[in-house]
Every structure is written in C-alpha cells, then in structure tokens.
C-alpha cells in the first residue's frame, strides 16, 4: 500500500514537473472530448425530447393519400373508422405550415377545439388533440408538436397566458413572438390562401423551456385554420384514432386500409422509428464531426504511443537501474495516463454540458440551422445517456492509457544501460 502511495505521489510530482507539456495535452484532449460529448449530448437530448413527446402521441393516425402524396382527409371517413371493432375516440387534426415572407421564416400552424370529435364512450372532451407533422415529403422537418398535455415535460411551465378558445385568438411560440415583436395581448397578422390579411389576438405565449417543440408554433381555432388554409369545412389534415387494446393496433390499421383504400394509417411505432431514423440521419452530419474529433484524438494518442522523449526514456532507464521494477515503472505510467485522461474527460464533459445545455449548442448552430429557420435558441432539458458517456470514456481513456504505457513498457524491459544512454 505504502508503495503504491509513493509511486502515485511521484506520478503527481512528475506530472507537475512537465506541467506545460501535460497542460497542452490536457487542453487538446479536453477539447476533443468536449466535442465528442457535445455531439452525443445534443443528439441524445433532441432524440429523447422528441420521443418523450411522441409517447403521448396518438397510437394511430390516418392520412388520406392521393397520387402518393398526403392530402386532406374527409371528416366523414371518421364514421367509417368508428365502425371498426376496438376503436375508441377519433379526433380530426388541423395543422400545416405557413411561410411568412416578411420574416423569411416558417411557422407551424395548428387548429384546436375540434367539434368533430366522435366518441363511442365519451368521458371527457378532447380539446387538445395531438397533431404530429409527419416526417415525409417536403413537410419532413422532424418536428414534434405535442405540447398540450402538461405531463409531457414535467415540472416546466409551458404556457404563459392561455390557449385560444374563441376565433381570432392565438397562442404563439417564443420564436414567433420574437420575430414578430409581439407578446400576450399583441396581434399577429397572417395572410390567408386568398391573400387576405387575418388578425389574431395573442392570448398565450409558450414558455421558452418548451422552445424545442413550440418555437415556431401558432395555435389558433380550428375554424380559423380552415379559413386561413382555405380548407373545405368537411376536411381535416389527418385523423387520430385511439385503439383500446394496443395489441389490436396493427389489426385496426389493416382494417382501415381495407375499408378506406385511399388512406394510409400510420402507427405510432412507425412514427417513432421514422423519427429515430431521421434523428440518426440528422446526427449523421454531426457524426462526421464526431469522427473528426475521434480522429484528432487518435493522432494525439498515436503521437504519444510512437515516441517517448529522450528525457522520459532516460528517466525510465534510471529508475530501472536504481532498482525500480518494470511493474513499478508501468504503474507510474498508468497513473500518469489515468490522471491526464480523467482530468481531460471531466473538463471536456463539463465544457460539453455547459455548451449544450446552457449555451444552446451555439457552436453547432451553423450545422443545425438548416433544420428550421426558426430553430429555437433552446435550452435543452439535460438528458445524459450513461451508456454513451461510458462509450466515449472507453474510446478515449483506454487508448490513451495504453499509448502512455506501451512505449514505456518497451523502454522498461530493455537493459537500463541502453535506455539511459537514450
């Protein structure tokens, strides 16, 4: 015990002795680790957040398809679906995208207060259906809009003010509020499909905590959205279908396809998979950066592995000559590698955490901007995947420690006389 304590002490004094060199290594190492962890934290949190929200999403969504494209769905389809055994509530959803030329940005518009709710055993009135813009076609933006059940993101105040209850009222996301320079009691102008200006009274603003979901969102009355988009009153964007027994969802889906051949039922499981693919693809861009950082790390490790400085070699020779065993030298180098890599990893992890969760991944903004014009200046809820943390840990600590030990080991098993001469 005493022995290991002294070797460790000597390690620390050795590290201090070469402090400039070691500080340089720690700095480079930390930044590489910070980059790796930033990427992992960011993609993981985005994915996690999206999937958490999706959990609350309807089990089954029915879209109408014409010519292979998503089309408005006739609301009387609801009656046909209702006839299928095992189906619960059926809710039409109204949503779409709106390009605002003045601010050169895209909003997501959503209509609520559906009156078309068909319900077989109605207990409560579903005021806030969950519209999920699906990742497909030009509408594929990988966005999730399901901010209305407070359980989604626990402990966060999501809305300042209230949701619209009358016509010409709206609740808007923080991003919209910012680009339009307006807030509660303010007004928003939107141009409808015929070129007419519609004015909405802002009754609620979504809190910035939910920005990842609501930043570009405008929630208005369902009838307003029909007017704005010029949709026929007997059409919805899509239909959310509740199925009592989760196991029957595939059956209900195939039944719907059978009786309504021009529709496409989408199961939540599929959506989640799509989102996962999408997020994986998104992180693909960043993954390239990830690889780049890893490569930089390898260069660092390689550089260490290929050479001991003459001074380090001589020191090993001396230690051996005065009675240190090979194992003692390796222990010294092992501690050295451990101290350096853990210091770097801890520093890097803290930098990454601050970068992603407090500074809103500002360094990645250029990469992510293509995601949406109104990409929120978000503050992600910190989700850290321990598995990923350990993967990076293993991918860096082990090679680094190995690259510290191996050349020393080679020197330590050579005649001290030869090694001392350099």
């Amino acid at each position: 015990m005493e022995k290991h304590k002294k070797i460790l002490e000597y390690t620390l004094s050795s590290l201090l002795r070469r402090r400039y060199k070691n500080l340089a290594i720690i700095t480079v190492f930390s930044f590489i680790v910070a980059a790796l962890y930033s990427i992992l934290f960011l993609t993981h949190s985005l994915k996690k957040e999206a999937l958490t929200v999706l959990k609350e999403a309807p089990e089954l969504i029915v879209q109408k398809v014409s010519g292979g494209r998503h089309d408005l769905i006739p609301t009387d389809y609801m009656k046909r679906i209702q006839e299928i055994y095992g189906v619960g509530r059926i809710i039409p959803r109204y949503w779409g995208y709106y390009y605002d030329a003045i601010t050169d940005s895209n909003y997501t518009l959503m209509g609520i207060n559906g009156t078309h709710v068909l319900h077989s055993n109605s207990k409560d009135n579903e005021n806030y259906p969950s519209p999920i813009p699906l990742p497909q076609g030009e509408g594929a933006r990988g966005r999730v809009k399901d901010v209305f059940s407070d359980e989604n993101i626990k402990g966060l105040k999501l809305l300042n003010g209230r949701m619209p209850s009358n016509r010409k009222e709206c609740a808007i996301g923080k991003g919209v509020s910012d680009v339009r320079f307006t807030g509660i009691d303010g007004e928003i102008f939107l141009i409808d499909s015929k070129g007419k200006v519609l004015t909405f009274h802002v009754v609620g603003v979504f809190a910035s905590e939910s920005a990842i979901l609501t930043n570009d969102l405008i929630v208005i009355n369902k009838d307003d959205i029909l007017e704005l988009f010029g949709m026929p009153s007997d059409r919805a964007t899509d239909i959310a279908v509740e199925v009592y027994n989760e196991l029957e969802i595939p059956f209900v889906a195939s039944k719907i396809r059978e009786i309504l051949p021009d529709t496409r039922p989408i199961m939540k499981g599929e959506i989640i998979r799509t989102y996962e693919t999408l997020f994986n693809w998104r992180s693909g861009v960043i993954f390239t950066m990830f690889l780049g950082a890893l490569l930089a790390f390898c260069i660092l490790a390689w550089d260490k592995a290929t050479g001991l400085s003459a001074e380090e070699r001589q020191e090993i020779g001396i230690l051996k000559a005065i009675g240190w065993e090979t194992g003692d030298v390796l222990e010294l180098k092992f501690w050295e590698g451990i101290v350096i890599s853990f210091t770097s990893i801890l520093t890097g992890m803290i930098i990454a955490y601050i970068h992603i969760f407090f500074l809103g991944a500002s360094l990645f903004a250029p990469v992510l901007r293509g995601w949406s014009v109104l990409f929120p200046p978000f503050r992600l809820i910190p989700y850290v995947d321990l598995y990923q943390v350990f993967v990076v840990l293993f991918l860096t600590v082990i090679p680094y420690v190995a690259s510290t030990i191996i050349p020393s080991w080679k020197a330590a098993i050579t005649d001290p006389d030869t090694v001392m001469r350099g």
Partner: protein
C-alpha cells in the same frame, strides 16, 4: 571470505553485427570477495564502466557468465534482475544519472519509492546520508542547480539509500577536490568497515593509493591486464 561477484570469460559487444559494433570487454574473468574494496583502473575506453554495468546487472554480457551471490545473472529475466538491483547494489554512475527537475532529496529517496518503507522513514535516511556527504543545505534544490561536485555527492547518496551489500562507484571523485575526495573515501572506508563490498572504477591515483583498498584490477582495451593484491587482506 566467500566470493560475492565472479565473472567468467565475459565478453560484451555493443551493437553486434552493426557498423558501429564495439567490443567493449573481452574474456574477462575476475573474482571479488565479500567485504573487499576493489579498484578498476585503466585508461579511458578500457571497459571499466562496461564491467561495472555487467556486475551491477544493468546490462548483460554477450558471452560468459556473471555470478552475483552465487547466482548466474547473465541469462536471468529482467524481472528477476530488478529485484537483485534493488536489494544488492548501489550504483554511482559516471554521468550521475540524476533525474533533472526534481529536488536532490527526491532523487536520493527515489530507489526506495517502490518499497513498503514509509516515506517519512526514507526521508530521515536520506537526510542523514546527505548530512554525512555535506549536501544537506542543497536538499530542496533542483538537480540542475547543483555544481558537478554536489551532483556527484547526490549520486553517491542515492546509491547508499537502499543500504546495499555492494557499492559500484564509477569515477566517484572525478568532480571533487582533494578535500571532498578525502571525505568520500573516508565514507567508503567506513562502509567497508561495516562489511560492504565496494568496487570503484577510477583513474584517479588518489584513490588507488588508499590504504584500505585491497586490490586493483587494471584494464586495457577491454581485457584485464594486471591484478594487484595489496595484501591488506584480513
């Protein structure tokens, strides 16, 4: 008196088979008895340091056997050699081989770090040796701030810290003035009286004239030329 070190037809070739091949010593057979003080003398390049390194197990012979305490170390695996180095030898290197940038006392304590002796005990030991060698006032100096003579004494102090049976000193007085050389030799003499075996490589006549030196082995061009017994044997 029993034989503590023995070399049998030892040859050392550096860089064998390469263009810079050097035959440092050839067919050297010597015996050193326990408790003896032996001087290796000879001109520069005659193989003194090489022979000391072979005896001290920090390099291996190309041919022949080196027997330390009855054990042939020539073919021993490195991991067995380290133990022998730690327990048996105190080596004073010609080039000192102190570790730069750490303090003198740390250098002196270093051989005992990988043991279970308490740091405070090692420190005490180091301080007392430094006291004897007159470098206590340089205790916390970095090695490179010391004069040649001070470094030499630090190197000697380090070789004594593990209380070795055999002290191998390569030109231990090369950087010292007469007074200091005198002091060092007195220390070696005292160590010898305590039963230590001492082998000194030197071409300093001041050393091999000393009374307590029992034998001088003269080397030339890598071979033993002459062994002089001073008949002070007890």
């Amino acid at each position: 008196m029993d034989i503590i070190i023995k070399t049998e037809n030892v040859t050392k070739i550096f860089n064998p088979g390469m263009s810079d091949e050097v035959k440092a010593i050839t067919d050297v057979s010597i015996e050193i008895k326990r408790g003896e003080v032996v001087v290796l003398k000879g001109p520069s390049g005659s193989g003194k340091t090489t022979l000391l390194s072979l005896i001290g197990c920090i390099t291996r012979p190309t041919e022949g056997r080196v027997i330390v305490n009855g054990k042939n170390v020539a073919k021993l695996q490195e991991r067995f050699l380290t133990g022998i180095r730690q327990k048996t030898f105190g080596f004073v290197f010609q080039q000192f081989n102190l570790i730069r940038s750490i303090s003198v006392i740390e250098n002196i304590m270093l051989p005992l770090y990988p043991t279970n002796i308490k740091l405070s005990a090692i420190k005490k030991r180091a301080e007392s040796i430094m006291e004897k060698l007159g470098i206590s006032n340089k205790k916390d100096f970095k090695v490179q701030r010391l004069s040649g003579g001070e470094q030499q004494r630090a190197a000697i102090a380090r070789s004594l810290i593990n209380e070795p049976e055999i002290i191998l000193a390569d030109e231990p007085t090369a950087h010292l003035d007469t007074n200091l050389s005198e002091e060092i030799m007195r220390i070696f003499q005292r160590l010898n009286e305590d039963g230590k075996t001492i082998v000194i490589a030197t071409h300093d006549p001041f050393i091999y004239e000393r009374q307590f030196i029992q034998r001088t082995i003269e080397m030339r061009d890598g071979v033993v030329k002459n062994i002089l017994n001073k008949n002070h044997d007890v």
